[in-house]
């Protein structure tokens, strides 16, 4: 299984890193035999813990619900039986008092955390002191808290585990806010830990004090202010459980400095207190409901699957479903990779910048199977017109999403994975296969009629779409791609072929520029063997450019391909189309020297000792990309592209499929 494969890899990686001595902060004194052995044992336990906490988060509630109603007792039983409690070997004796910060770090170790993204400060330095005493947690020191929180997201999106970031109080904490909001909208499992001023000083507007729990209340799944050192083990366990169970999301834990400093003997067997939450976790889907869906499928003539980020752990099931039924499938921006794009049943992405044929299929469908999606406005456009001819089946884990934007005809509040497993079983048993032959033929015709396309303008001009296409050809799609936000993001979604899930890291719901480089750091830290490529725009890249220092120092092989058009491209596109091409602060170059490329990203890269190159001619592009991939370690490739290109097709906001735009660029006036 994929899960064990990842975990096994992580162990090997940890051991290897330890032997090469990369974890230099570890103190070398007092190395006993037990300690030399313990990392391996710890490695095993932590990887198992990770499975429990992160990789298969959806399995657990099901087990609980099946067993009984009194879920808290069941959960306690599970955690007693689970390996971390029994196999985990603490650095401290059972009755040895230690600081709150050490308890915190041990709690993270017990959750199987191997990498944290932490930037120190006055109120969190105790935690960093404790981190240096840990032998199995590596800190990747990003150069900005926004970088670290995005990196934790990249880590979580690529690996499926809970991402962990740590920041200090005040400005450190507020710098996390954008990332927390991003994780909340994209349902990324993440635990953010912040230092807080000592308890006594809370509310006094002390130095570097912000009420971060109040600030983040509406952009986290849950948050905690830990006022008692004895609560740390329980709160951390709850935080990880909340972050990864149900609809995943960010959880913030705020710990005052004096709590970090207080000595205590932790009680690791405290039960978690989430009874009401656990009771509300979705049940195993009932056959009667599934049977209704089967009936709809059997009777449909023009069905289409619309799947999104909620299916990230159910890729196998989705593939099997499509194989069984032959129903064509379209994915949201968050769902790219769940179903291979090379398959003929794939209609690629739908929505505002989705393909014509995907939007055509949804528009003409008589049955829309919405799996793990939330009918976002970037997908639906005008709500009344979206899938207006279809019966809608909506499966989602979050009951609040069902009927929020679009009223489904059949809804099922459940985790998509078990729901699809049972659905596939029913389909196979009853040999249901809808007659979709003519529908498929109709869609194939649309595919031929409206392929994704772009126009080339000679050798002096590299079309950005062409750059991504070339990258895809050279890597054969075998890479983890991260992006910023804007035109380059949409092109990366359209022109790179994703055949596996968790290979595509992007800020979807929030659309946070500057996401590309830090999230690539998170992915590269977990998967050192897979090429990680940040396809970025010049505007987005500049927003977290300080992380160039991180990738050099942490020796992370992140490749950066900047599609540099000297403009805020997506806004320029909208200016072209709807504001008579009036440039309102969307030019990012140097207005006094428009013939020069500004800023010079190559100098940034040189300043951070990162090899780099710039390419302006189409004929040199392929070699330049090849060189980027062949150079060991990080690399920056600055690809100069024209700013007149538009992302097409395009359905303007609030419009419907009939308003789709497929032609034109910034060289024309509208």
């Amino acid at each position: 299984m994929a899960a064990t494969g990842i975990a096994g890899g992580a162990i090997a990686m940890q051991v290897c890193r330890r032997s090469t001595g990369l974890n230099s902060r570890r103190s070398e004194e007092n190395l006993s035999l037990a300690e030399l052995i313990s990392p391996i044992r710890r490695g095993i336990s932590s990887s198992r813990g990770r499975i429990r906490a992160g990789i298969e988060p959806f399995e657990e509630p099901r087990v609980i619900v099946k067993e009984s109603q009194g879920s808290s007792t069941i959960f306690r039983k599970q955690s007693e039986a689970s390996p971390p409690a029994s196999l985990f070997q603490s650095r401290y004796g059972d009755s040895e008092p230690r600081k709150g910060a050490d308890i915190l770090v041990e709690a993270l170790e017990r959750q199987g955390v191997d990498i944290v993204f932490a930037y120190p400060g006055g109120a969190s330095m105790e935690i960093h002191q404790a981190l240096t005493r840990s032998t199995c947690i590596r800190n990747v020191l990003c150069r900005h808290e926004q970088g670290e929180v995005f990196a934790a997201e990249g880590y979580a999106k690529a690996s499926g585990k809970v991402g962990v970031c740590i920041a200090t109080s005040g400005p450190g904490a507020t710098n996390l806010v954008t990332g927390l909001a991003d994780a909340a909208l994209d349902s990324v499992p993440m635990v953010a830990i912040t230092g807080q001023v000592p308890r006594r000083m809370i509310g006094t507007d002390a130095f570097q004090e912000t009420p971060i729990v109040e600030v983040t209340r509406s952009i986290t799944k849950h948050n905690y202010l830990v006022m008692n050192v004895e609560d740390i083990p329980r709160v951390i366990e709850e935080a990880f459980f909340l972050a990864s169970s149900g609809r995943p999301g960010p959880v913030l834990v705020d710990i005052p400095k004096d709590v970090q400093q207080q000595f205590a003997i932790p009680n690791w067997s405290q039960p978690i207190k989430l009874n009401a939450y656990m009771q509300r976790l979705p049940r195993f889907p009932e056959v009667a409901q599934l049977q209704q869906i089967v009936r709809l499928i059997a009777n449909s003539k023009r069905p289409v699957v619309y799947c999104g980020g909620g299916c990230m752990n159910a890729s196998e099931e989705v593939r099997e479903f499509v194989k069984l039924t032959g129903i064509p499938i379209t994915m949201t921006l968050m769902g790219l990779g769940i179903f291979p794009q090379s398959d003929s049943r794939s209609l690629h992405m739908l929505g505002m910048h989705g393909t014509v044929y995907a939007n055509y299929a949804v528009d003409g469908a008589d049955l829309l199977l919405a799996f793990g999606v939330r009918f976002d406005d970037r997908v639906t456009g005008k709500l009344e017109a979206f899938a207006s001819r279809a019966s809608i089946v909506h499966i989602d884990i979050d009951p609040a999403e069902i009927g929020k934007n679009k009223q489904p005809h059949v809804s099922l509040c459940a985790d998509v994975k078990p729901a699809l497993q049972s659905l596939n079983l029913l389909l196979r048993e009853q040999k249901v296969k809808p007659d979709v032959g003519s529908w498929i033929a109709e869609l194939e015709e649309q595919k031929l009629k409206w392929p994704l396309k772009y126009v080339e303008f000679g050798d002096d001009c590299i079309a950005p779409q062409h750059a991504i296409q070339t990258l895809c050809e050279i890597t054969q799609g075998n890479a983890i791609i991260s992006t910023g936000v804007g035109q380059h993001q949409m092109w990366a979604a359209q022109w790179f072929k994703y055949d596996k899930p968790r290979r595509w890291l992007t800020s979807g719901g929030l659309g946070a520029m500057g996401f590309g480089l830090p999230s690539a750091i998170g992915a590269a830290a977990t998967f050192p063997d897979v090429p990680v490529i940040d396809i970025d725009g010049d505007g987005s890249f500049l927003m977290n450019v300080q992380e160039l220092a991180t990738i050099h120092v942490e020796k992370l092989p992140v490749k950066i391909m900047v599609l540099n058009n000297q403009h805020l491209g997506m806004v320029v596109q909208w200016e072209d189309r709807f504001y008579k091409a009036n440039r309102a602060h969307t030019y990012l170059g140097d207005p006094d020297h428009e013939d020069e490329i500004f800023p010079d990203f190559l100098k940034f890269a040189e300043g951070c000792k990162i090899p780099c190159a710039r390419v302006t001619k189409r004929s040199n592009l392929k070699a330049a990309i090849q060189k980027m991939l062949d150079t060991p370690g990080p690399y920056l490739l600055d690809v100069i592209v024209p700013h007149q290109e538009h992302v097409l097709p395009m359905i303007p906001g609030g419009s419907s499929f009939k308003d789709i735009i497929t032609e034109g660029d910034g060289r024309k006036t509208y």
Binding site: R200, I202, E230, F263, P399
Partner: protein, 412 residues
């Protein structure tokens, strides 16, 4: 079905500091409109009764979004079920001596009670549903209403008489009175002390934040027993419950902003009542917050930055009232005893079935505590409480204080 209606929902929340703010945040963030809100705090949980207006769809969304909060245990829409609804109103009316009889006649008709008499004003307490309160208010307008405070609606479902099921007696499901629990708490606290190891001086030296070792900050006090633990000025450091009265503009999100100040400055709210006031577009928030005079003074400064009028009336003579609906498991055999107790406390019976009785009681804190304590052996099924209301007594008389000031009588 786009008809805008009023819905009453009850939300059962686990205890957590800042939880009022968390609930209020859902409403302000999603743009839902709270018409009234009553919070009854119990030992480890709170029951919010919220009246929202909107379409049916809005209501469904509100409930789903509330359910997403981790500490919310139960959300229930009471609007379509048979229920008992009560609201408490304190009303200060201008009454010149000549008109007093007329007003007292009205008081009688509405079964209101007079809680304070001054030279030219009367303070009335009245309970009932929204319609009754509105009509009393209208009657009194002609005399001139000086001040008005309302709690917001609380609601309990009526029992269906037909179901003769053995009553589930779950004393722990409701709030249990002080005595036993306080001792428990003390036991826990003393146990904790054993495992506590004080902060070593080595780490405190040369630290980013210098913290003196005494713990007098607002945070060092445990969350008080919100049930009956009204702190009188007994503690040597002057830590006691303060009653604050605020007048706020009736704008979306105002409750969220006000409670946010409490939450982030580390103050615990013991009681909160939000309701309309004597003027249109203005609401009155009455809240009870424990703290020292000094810390409350600071809190007032913070609050004054947000809102127009905020007053700490703790040290003024004031009348305070709270409303409680309490459902007791009562098989016909035990009914007589319960009714006797209710009589003594002047509690009204608002619902009766062959297995339960629902009582309505108004009064101050001690009275509620005493009644609840007496009824406990019978099995309390459900309790809904409003927050406390308080209006300054125009008479300038504090009965409690007067009692203390009475000269000691010589013994004969």
């Amino acid at each position: 079905m786009l008809r805008i209606q009023r819905y009453t929902i009850s939300v059962f929340v686990g205890d957590e500091s800042g939880m009022i703010n968390r609930i209020a945040g859902v409403f302000s963030r999603r743009g839902y409109n709270i018409e009234s809100l009553a919070v009854g705090l119990n030992r480890d949980k709170a029951l919010f009764t919220i009246v929202v207006s909107g379409t049916d769809r809005v209501l469904q969304q509100v409930m789903k979004q509330l359910y997403k909060l981790v500490n919310v245990r139960k959300v229930e829409d009471l609007s379509k079920k048979p229920r008992v609804e009560r609201e408490l109103m304190l009303l200060k009316v201008n009454v010149p001596a000549a008109q007093r009889t007329e007003v007292l006649g009205l008081v009688d008709i509405f079964r209101a009670r007079v809680v304070d008499v001054a030279e030219d004003s009367l303070t009335l307490e009245v309970t009932g549903d929204a319609g009754k309160l509105a009509s009393l208010e209208r009657r009194m307008t002609k005399f001139g209403i000086k001040e008005l405070a309302r709690t917001g609606k609380i609601s309990l479902l009526r029992d269906k008489s037909e179901e003769v099921v053995a009553p589930p007696i779950l004393p722990q499901a409701t709030s249990v009175s002080s005595l036993t629990k306080v001792s428990d708490l003390e036991k826990q606290a003393s146990e904790k002390v054993v495992t506590h190891i004080p902060v070593t001086s080595s780490s405190a030296e040369g630290d980013v934040y210098a913290v003196e070792s005494d713990d007098e900050g607002v945070w060092s006090h445990q969350v008080l027993d919100p049930d009956w633990g009204d702190v009188e000025a007994a503690e040597p450091n002057g830590y006691m419950s303060h009653t604050l009265s605020m007048v706020v503009n009736d704008a979306p999100g105002v409750l969220n902003r006000v409670t946010g100040v409490f939450a982030r400055r580390g103050y615990n709210i013991q009681s909160l009542a939000v309701g309309l006031s004597e003027r249109q577009g203005i609401s009155r928030i009455t809240t009870v917050v424990p703290g020292t005079d000094e810390s409350i003074r600071k809190l007032l400064h913070q609050l004054s930055k947000l809102i127009d009028v905020v007053q700490d009336i703790t040290h003024l003579p004031f009348a305070q009232r709270e409303l409680m609906l309490i459902k007791i498991s009562a098989l016909p055999s035990a009914r007589r005893d319960i009714l006797d107790i209710a009589n003594v406390f002047r509690a009204k019976i608002v619902d009766l079935s062959n297995r339960s009785i629902t009582l309505e009681l108004t009064g101050d804190l001690e009275k509620m505590a005493a009644l609840q304590h007496l009824l406990e052996p019978y099995g309390i099924l459900e309790v809904a409480r409003t927050g406390r209301l308080a209006l300054v007594r125009d008479s300038g008389v504090d009965t409690k204080l007067l009692g203390q000031l009475q000269p000691l009588q010589a013994s004969y």
